[in-house]
């Protein structure tokens, strides 16, 4: 009997531990909703309807209290309160004669402004006038664009509106913007004046979709810090090397630790909450010859410690659970494949019952 009680006690503790570490996933879904998925229950627990259309990007605020969603149907913004799971602000930019396109963007630290790159399309009686991409400031309280600035010629390449190009972050004091593309561009937030460049690029990842409008590591990044996988090439041999970079958004100091030669494709990184381990999916080959592998990194030494082959979906996104113990492969469909982060082995598939968009995922502990 004593053994039975101990077993029950242990089981109870295990359940408590599981509850303590499980988080909530927010997944943008078709046709116009954000699906709320409980990791511990392994089921959809809520569905937040969106007013303005299909979600195309999602981002957690730095204080983890709000979720910013952009929608594409009429180019809208929605702000979700994490505590109540309600939309507390929503509006669209489109009017009867004007449409907009925007992809990357970020709210300012106070959550009042939204920095993005947009294109204006004006409808005339017999034609449409398609404008150039411009740096844009949207006032979330006034619910309109309050400023646009022309993009310098040398910055146009990473501001062409392709999905995920030119993702933007803002410094904690709101003074600087950082654009992550073919290089890192540092801009003055007040007027989008280009202040500096750093020759580090985001990894290429054909077929992998790690390009949501937030940084890859919304959850583990301290305010004022951007941690991500970058690629660097030397100026003589042009040998591409990937590594982990920690970027201080306050001081503009970057700490880049090269790890190894760049593979054909890499799905960004996901980092455990204790910041000791990082994971990515590496892709080599194309189509029928494509092979994918999980790579695990020890962040204390920035070394690759473990590899394991994983079936390649044609398109997918890599995610990580709130406790860092599970890895997720999702996107282009209605499910999440769950892998154990310690062994890199497949465990199960969660059915979301709804197709999710390629906007990414927000994990809230």
């Amino acid at each position: 009997m004593a053994i039975k009680r101990l077993t029950l006690l242990a089981a109870g503790c295990a359940v408590c531990a599981c509850f303590a570490s499980a988080g909530t996933l927010y997944l943008p879904a078709y046709p116009a909703a954000v699906v709320v998925f409980d990791e511990q229950k392994a089921q959809v627990v809520d569905r937040i309807p969106l007013e303005t259309g299909t979600p195309m990007s999602i981002r957690l605020s730095t204080d983890h209290k709000k979720i910013y969603v952009t929608t594409i149907d009429h180019n809208g913004f929605e702000v979700i309160d994490v505590a109540t799971r309600k939309v507390i602000n929503h509006f669209v930019l489109n009017t009867a004669t004007k449409q907009y396109r925007f992809f990357a963007g970020t709210p300012d630290p106070q959550g009042k402004l939204f920095y993005t790159v947009s294109k204006e399309i004006t409808k005339f009686p017999e034609h449409y006038d398609v404008g150039k991409w411009k740096y844009t400031v949207v006032d979330l309280e006034q619910q309109k664009i309050v400023k646009t600035v022309d993009i310098p010629k040398e910055e146009e390449a990473q501001n062409q509106g392709d999905w995920g190009s030119g993702a933007i972050d803002v410094s904690p004091d709101g003074k600087y913007l950082y654009q992550w593309g073919e290089k890192i561009t540092i801009l003055q937030a007040s007027d989008f004046k280009v202040l500096d460049h750093i020759d580090l690029a985001r990894p290429e990842a054909p077929g992998m979709e790690n390009a949501h409008f937030g940084s890859d590591l919304d959850l583990i990044n301290e305010p004022g810090e951007h941690t991500a996988m970058f690629v660097w090439a030397d100026p003589v041999v042009h040998n591409h090397v990937f590594g982990l970079a920690r970027f201080d958004l306050n001081t503009k100091h970057i700490d880049f630790n090269p790890i190894g030669p760049m593979p054909a494709g890499m799905a960004g990184i996901e980092v455990t909450p204790d910041r000791k381990w990082a994971y990515t999916v590496v892709q080599n080959g194309l189509h029928g010859n494509k092979r994918c592998e999980f790579w695990a990194f020890d962040l204390s030494s920035d070394r690759l410690t473990q590899k394991a082959e994983v079936p390649c979906r044609t398109r997918f996104t890599l995610g990580i659970s709130a406790d860092g113990k599970k890895l997720y492969i999702y996107g282009a469909g209605f499910d999440i494949e769950v892998y154990d982060a310690a062994t890199l082995k497949y465990e199960k598939t969660w059915d979301l019952t709804t197709d999710v968009t390629y906007a990414g995922i927000v994990v809230v502990p």
């Binding site: 046709p31 189509h287 044609t314 398109r315 209605f334 019952t353 968009t357």
Partner: protein, 112 residues
Amino acid sequence: MKHMRPLNKKAARIDAYVTSRTDDVVALQDAAKQQRPHVPMGCSIMFTPGWEVDAAGGTAGLCQPVERDIYDCFVSCYWPAQVPDHLNNAADWTAKCASATKDWRNLDLVFP
């Protein structure tokens, strides 16, 4: 210059050399990249992998099953030749079908 023909062996060698250095001109093809199968226009107005074939001319590069991909091709009018026009004429095409793989029969019919 097609009316000119080499008259001796040296001229023939020069002609062959020049021909070998001339790139094949293919519509919408990026010359800097490796030549890929020339999928005929008509299956898509975009020259990227489509519903029928991938960029290698096969099907291994397509989502399996293809219904997994249908919504992401619809949204933003990414593949307007194969799926309805999301932004202008058929914004509600997906409204009755939560998962295209499971209940694609509920997708609305759209007539151009």
